[in-house]
Amino acid sequence: MTARRVHGVSPPDAQPTTYIGLVTRVIAFAIDAAVINVVALLVAVVIALVSSVLPTSHTRDKVLVAIGAAVFAVWIVGYFVAFWTTTGQTPGNRLMQIRVERADGSRLLPRHALARLLGILASLPLLLGFMPILVTERRRGLHDWMAGTVVKAAPREGGP
């Protein structure tokens, strides 16, 4: 079963495995980015409103900005790690009906998810890390290689 999944060969009665390409992944990522930013923005607005009624202090503002940046980073990491390690689908993935899983079909562990996030960061310069998605058989980018993951189609049961 494992070997079949890795090589994209399915038993005769199973659906053929479809690996997902760059455009669909970018759209899913954009949806996730929108969700992350909207939530962060709402929280930031609430904190800004609360702090606006407190006495102002330059030092306190700097500390707040630093804390905010740290919380934002934790929020981003937590968002992806939580979704990838539980369902394998972020909200953006779910909407695009795709799933991130290990090459052997198992679920990601937190260290795999963190490696994948680091891989995405490493892929950003000139987007070179994403280029292998266009030419490799299982459409894997640098971050997929680093985390040992693939991105597959995950149509909803009974859905379109």
Partner: protein, 146 residues
């Protein structure tokens, strides 16, 4: 002076008697089998079709509708309807009914699903197109069709 008053009263009494007589005669006729038989025969005859054809030919219904719409009757009726509180209570009841809320939510979800399905289809096509271009640029074999 006295004579015209007597004459007027007598005339009025005669008119009342005549009306009463006419109405009772009409009741008698309408209650008789003769009237029923006459109506049956009229309805069974070709007269009904003839009248219907004439109504269509002379656009009687359209003319009557136009006349009605041009008059202020419809506007007044609508205005009175909109002013009535019962109408808004009824609209409120219908809007809050489970059937309507279910239909609206299903329609909304259906539309969102349709849009998402179209986006998915197009993105998968774009995946394939982009890969074809990249593989051609790198002189690699095309990906086998899925």
């Amino acid at each position: 002076m006295y004579v015209p008053a007597v004459a007027r009263r007598t005339g009025q009494a005669l008119t009342d008697s005549a009306q009463s007589l006419a109405l009772s005669s009409l009741d008698t006729i309408l209650g008789s089998t003769l009237a029923r038989e006459a109506v049956d025969r009229v309805l069974a005859s070709a007269l009904v079709e003839h009248v219907m054809r004439d109504l269509v030919r002379y656009r009687v219904i359209e003319r009557a509708t136009d006349e009605l719409l041009e008059s202020s009757v419809v506007d007044e009726a609508i205005a009175r309807l909109l002013e009535s509180e019962e109408l808004w209570v009824l609209v409120d009841e219908i809007a809050r009914s489970p059937a309507v809320t279910d239909a609206i939510s299903h329609q909304g979800a259906g539309l969102a699903d349709q849009v998402a399905a179209v986006v998915r289809d197009r993105s998968r096509n774009a995946d394939a197109r982009l890969e074809r271009v990249a593989r051609r640029a790198l002189r690699r074999d095309a990906r086998p069709a899925e």
